[in-house]
Amino acid sequence: MRNLQTTSVAPVAKDMPLAGKIPVVSPLARVKDLNVQFRSRDATVHAVNGVSFDLMPRDVLCIIGESGSGKSVTMKSMMRLLPPKKTVMTGEIEVNGHKVLDLSERQIRHLRGAEISMIFQEPMTALDPVYTIGRQITEAIRAHEPVTTSEARRRALELLELVRIPSAVSRLDAYPHELSGGLRQRAMIAVALSCKPKLLLADEPTTALDATVQIQVLVLLRQLQDELGMGVIFVTHDIGVAAQIADKIAVMYAGEIVEFGSARDVLVNPAHPYTRAMLASTVHGQARDADLPVIPGDPADLRRLVAGCRFAPRCGVSKSLCLERAPSLVGVAAHHDAACHLINSLT
């Protein structure tokens, strides 16, 4: 019989080297009861519904979950990149000591790039096609630091070498369209790292890449994370990518975190019925003459959230209780939580 006690989602960093005189390691980023709604004339979309998690320094957290479950919105909230007029945000977001939701527009602009950086799925949207790679990096540096043009250019070269771009000197003067997909992705990472951020937010940065380039970028990201001591939040819907890069994994469904734990706990011993169903439906060497298991029903309608557990209408094991009361995250094991009423009766 497991102990049904609510544990904090915050993992204890037992393998963390204690930095200098700071006695306790505090989280690099902390999200507390985040709610994000998009209001329009005809509907309110409840995109994020009470998300809380802590990210320790040097940790790589992967957010996985179905399309529309609120992964990107959670990330954009942390950068405050959502359209202010139609977005209602409540809760707390703290990054490196800054309360993100309370900052002025000027302060948040300074935070972006300097302390938090983001890389996106499609590098062409993040890189400006009319400027050379070198110019984009030097401008990113000079926007945050008072350095000379030549000093900025020297740093830009270092960054291209850091992201292992071959013949970096000549690539400084290349335009984005002159680079291959893999090189563009690395150039975008270079831009994102130009001010040595403490926190890197990566939204499906390898989804458009083929397998050989994808693994190059993932290995590189993990090395850079280690060399620069960054915390990383990485959104993906590829289980293989999460297994390759994550320390911790958060699984989202209908704007909520339904499971949180170490990569091994979540991927090898998944607890939540949604996580289990998602892993089962992922293609990985199943027999070719049989159908793949699928999750029945339709994704949750975020305009009309159901009472109780939001996955219950599609869940293979739900009981009447599940339709009535929303489950909260409870400990399945040490540092492994899931939001399911039936967690103790599932095996």
Partner: protein
């Protein structure tokens, strides 16, 4: 014509050449794109598809994999005649395409393509039903025939017509849009469909639904597929044979089980070793393939993979390897494939 029920007939009356005649024969297909060169007013040529030959048997699924930019989509568009080839020969069920045996209008009916981006390929101003009925209308079906066909196809792809027929693209999820694209491709009762990254934008459980759908349609409608994808697991699941491309050329082709079990070309080996495990205990520490592909503009002589190949020797710089027949119908384009078989 458009309402043939291909499921109930025991033999397909559209089958001209018989079972042994490949659905598609591709011979020495080439497409070089002219692009602005490095020197002023010079032009250079991107060797996108550079002498590709293969066959696709009736009812089989041929997976196509390879590095980004190696020419997979260009190959698909050439087969569809969306772009013109520089040279080469295409034969569909025994009829040379573009001749009296297989005029382009007939090819268009027989061969369809589904693209990656499910949203941009649907007209936002047309209802789902109108979108699907469009092809049959253009090819001469009456309005009521075309509408009935559209509703029948919505059922086939698992979308209830009473709910979805009148909806517009922005009212659909990504998976639903991709089903509509598949329904649209099926609207002229094609015999073969080219799927270019058609499930890549979907999340895993929706991807599984669409793959199940594709398998069922393949059986019910006796379809032949060419399935282009970056996802090596999906290619393994859906394909009978697999074609591996590198810089405009086929480097290896054969049965999917054999190639996945024992890849022979050094590029195929690196590609398959880049597959990610779903267990965090089996992480890849070093990328199996490093460096960048050479410039596709006027590629160097010899083997195009040699600059990144751990086994390259002098011969590879001078002589271009040809795609050689191996045992059991497998073909490999590597001078040292035999020697490296167990490397």
């Amino acid at each position: 014509m458009f309402l043939v029920d291909t499921t109930s007939t025991a033999t397909d009356e559209r089958d001209v050449g018989g079972a042994a005649q490949p659905m598609l024969i591709v011979r020495d297909l080439k497409k070089h794109f002219a692009v602005r060169g490095a020197a002023v007013r010079s032009t250079a040529r991107v060797h996108a598809v550079d002498g590709v030959s293969f066959t696709v048997a009736k009812g089989e699924t041929l997976g196509v994999v390879g590095e980004s930019g190696c020419g997979k989509s260009t190959l698909g568009k050439l087969l569809m005649h969306l772009i013109d080839a520089d040279s080469g020969e295409l034969i569909f069920d025994g009829g040379a395409i573009g001749t009296r045996d297989m005029p382009l209008t007939q090819l268009r009916r027989n061969l369809q393509m589904v693209f990656q981006d499910s949203s941009s390929s649907l007209n936002p101003r047309l209802s789902i039903e109108t979108s699907i009925a469009y092809g049959p209308r253009v090819h001469g079906a009456s309005a009521s025939e075309a509408k009935a066909k559209a509703r029948d196809l919505l059922v086939r792809v698992g979308l209830r017509p009473d709910i979805f027929a009148g909806r517009y693209p922005h009212e659909l999820s990504g998976g639903q849009k991709q089903r509509v694209n598949i329904a649209r491709a099926l609207a002229l009762d094609p015999r073969m469909i080219i799927l270019d990254e058609s499930v890549s934008a979907l999340d895993k459980s929706v991807e599984a639904q669409v793959l199940n759908l594709l398998r069922r349609l393949r059986e019910d409608l006796r379809l032949t597929y060419i399935f282009i994808s970056h996802d090596l697991n999906v290619v393994q699941y859906i394909s009978d044979r697999v074609l591996v491309m590198y810089m405009g050329k086929i480097v290896e082709i054969g049965a999917v089980d054999e190639i996945y079990r024992r890849p022979r070309h050094p590029y195929t080996k690196a590609l398959l070793r880049s597959r990610l495990s779903s267990s965090p205990d089996e992480r890849i520490k070093l990328a199996p393939l490093t460096g960048d592909p050479p410039n596709p503009i006027n590629p160097p002589p010899g083997c195009r993979f040699r600059a990144r190949c751990p086994h390259a020797r002098d011969l590879c710089a001078t002589a271009e390897p040809v795609l050689e027949d191996g045992a059991t119908g497998r073909k490999v384009a590597c001078h040292f494939a035999e020697e490296l078989a167990d490397a």
